[in-house]
Symmetry: C2
Subunit: 430 residues, 2 copies
Amino acid sequence: MARTRPLKVALLGCGVVGSQVARLMTTHAGDLAARIGAPVELAGIAVRRPGKVRDEVPPGLVTTDAAGLVARGDIDVVLELIGGIEPARTLINSAFEHGASVVTANKALLAQDGPALYAAAEKHAADLYFEASVAGAIPLLRPLRESLAGDKVNRVLGIVNGTTNFILDRMESTGASYGEALAEASALGYAEADPTADVEGFDAAAKAAILAGIAFHTRVGLDDVHREGITEITAADVASARQMGCTVKLLAICERAEDGRSVTARVHPAMIPDRHPLAGVREAYNAVFVEAEAAGRLMFYGPGAGGVPTASAVLGDLVAACRNKLGGGVGPGESAYARLPVSPMGEVVTRYHISLDVADKPGVLAQCAMVFADHGVSIDTVRQTGKDGEAKLVVVTHRASDAALGATVESLRRLDTVHGVASTMRVEGE
Amino acid sequence: MARTRPLKVALLGCGVVGSQVARLMTTHAGDLAARIGAPVELAGIAVRRPGKVRDEVPPGLVTTDAAGLVARGDIDVVLELIGGIEPARTLINSAFEHGASVVTANKALLAQDGPALYAAAEKHAADLYFEASVAGAIPLLRPLRESLAGDKVNRVLGIVNGTTNFILDRMESTGASYGEALAEASALGYAEADPTADVEGFDAAAKAAILAGIAFHTRVGLDDVHREGITEITAADVASARQMGCTVKLLAICERAEDGRSVTARVHPAMIPDRHPLAGVREAYNAVFVEAEAAGRLMFYGPGAGGVPTASAVLGDLVAACRNKLGGGVGPGESAYARLPVSPMGEVVTRYHISLDVADKPGVLAQCAMVFADHGVSIDTVRQTGKDGEAKLVVVTHRASDAALGATVESLRRLDTVHGVASTMRVEGE
């Protein structure tokens, strides 16, 4: 692998992550060269607004012509850190056509167009790496794709959005409302000005699609992922979880059905028991819990976002892509041979925690219990509390299909004695 | 990568791990073929005593001639699961000479002879993979070698021995003595008949050498690793840790010095704060906490031993070695370019928890404090308890060199008013 010509890298996007990648490529140049087996050189940095480029960035390399940079013909690896669908997609395809491998952190594009990108990479015998797209700095996709390549993953439970984990953690530790915790997250820079993508679960859903695809060797698109956010979570929900010895987390859950013949992917808030390793994941940290047939229960934990941690993941992929360029090999491509059908949310089997406001009179519990029985949903525990003519009924079910649980809740709502369904939440990780 | 001839695999050793590898290669044959890009075939299984072979193993493949199997000339990958130094070393070298790549779980051999094995692999353009040698099923070495290849690891703190973690966890959760907890571990199959390798830290020390070598791109041998076991840990130590909000764990610690110019590797029991992610690692689970300059604080958690989990790691490496065979590439070899010196234990900087039995009379605390000051060791907290003329002094120091801390303890022992040093333990993870 002796070679004197440096490998040339084009950096697209120079924001929070890109500027750190540029900085680390300079400060760690010697280590990168030793680990790759050849020097690596930043050949150009494409930005939208050159006036906004940060101090870390060598100014002579900056251009606004991303398309021209990618098409120069001498670029070995393109780092796509622009995000969003276009122009990122066109630039990545151009990179492959011009003989470059691609490292990207673009979860939205991968979740939407992963198969086409994989196909383009394969056609041009190039690499497509995207460790940074899920759970930031945590080495997760490489372990799933490579270390567990001889195993069978049955379930992935992930805290993959730092903003929502911070908000839920504050609600739990301080008793704050959702609004108060969101305000704190915004003030500390953990939530964006428009927090919709995070708090409504869109960000986590894109990551769930990527994770499910890799875990199950099956194409899973964004539309296959059931999605619920955390905006409806109340301080009372969090307190009720505490009473059960549980913590509320926004989880991305990818599951193989018990018969092994289909999979599901979903994002929603859920209660998990305090003894589960994910329950201890605080603040804006991410963690992904993997259950594999042979390996058993694994967890990967670390910072899920931030410019510097995410840059670490990008640079790890850069080293791999450069090593492959030098060695003549190519990293793992798409693995979708299993072609398992993705079942809708209704077929997910899980447990439910349901909190009802009911009339405080005899027979209400029996009436409610009958509704559960009618839908074939078995009750695990019931807790009844009441004062001043109003009572609360908290029911935790055994495992049942989400469709049956949903229908049960609908029927409960129609009972005269049920004044309201205060909350419903799934219980996971048991 | 279209190819019809299957890749041929020789399995050396068919004990707890090997028999599971053989079983999974059969039951997962279709998945392995899809993930590799060609079928993979078990060509032979070398055992010492063919009469003892388990049910899972196809009997026609069994041989006692390991050397002949490896030298057949048509073997693509050799899985070395015999353990120990010889004949494993000779067989691995023969495998390389005959054109095969090698997957091994042999931590003892790697810690002793890693550089020679790497050199042999490189000479023959073969792969040497050994994910299963450290922390069983947990994907750890691949993330360290590849995902963090663009980052700088500053510290690795690992619970890498399940037997000792089980014993310490029982001591903490039940108040048992070391002997009682060891007996329970033996009864449950977590400790071997002769537990020396585990409880005296030899097993963890071999893993520490491997981890430090990979983390710091520097050769670290077994002799470079300071080693203390857990046999002296008392119920009182564990209770004292609890009082400080700490847990006692046997840790493998690999550290870069603050000036970045040297590294250390050590295995010893230590107190870590309950809020540290490693504190929650219970029973026989393993976990490795990694602090990297850019990625930040990462943790990898899972089963550290057992036939089935370890087989998962072996098969992951098998897939990688087979993919490289087909694609013409080769995985990462030895990376020891940094050549950092490994400093002795005396230069390690850490904190100490020291428990002294002292005379219950005025001036003792002042006298002891003077000894610490004389050695330049600054005291963080002191707790004094006493009854019936005997008193206890528990001192927690600030960070100081291990040499200074050791000298302090020696001087304390020589004081007339100090009747004994009940225990000394390092405090880590803060």
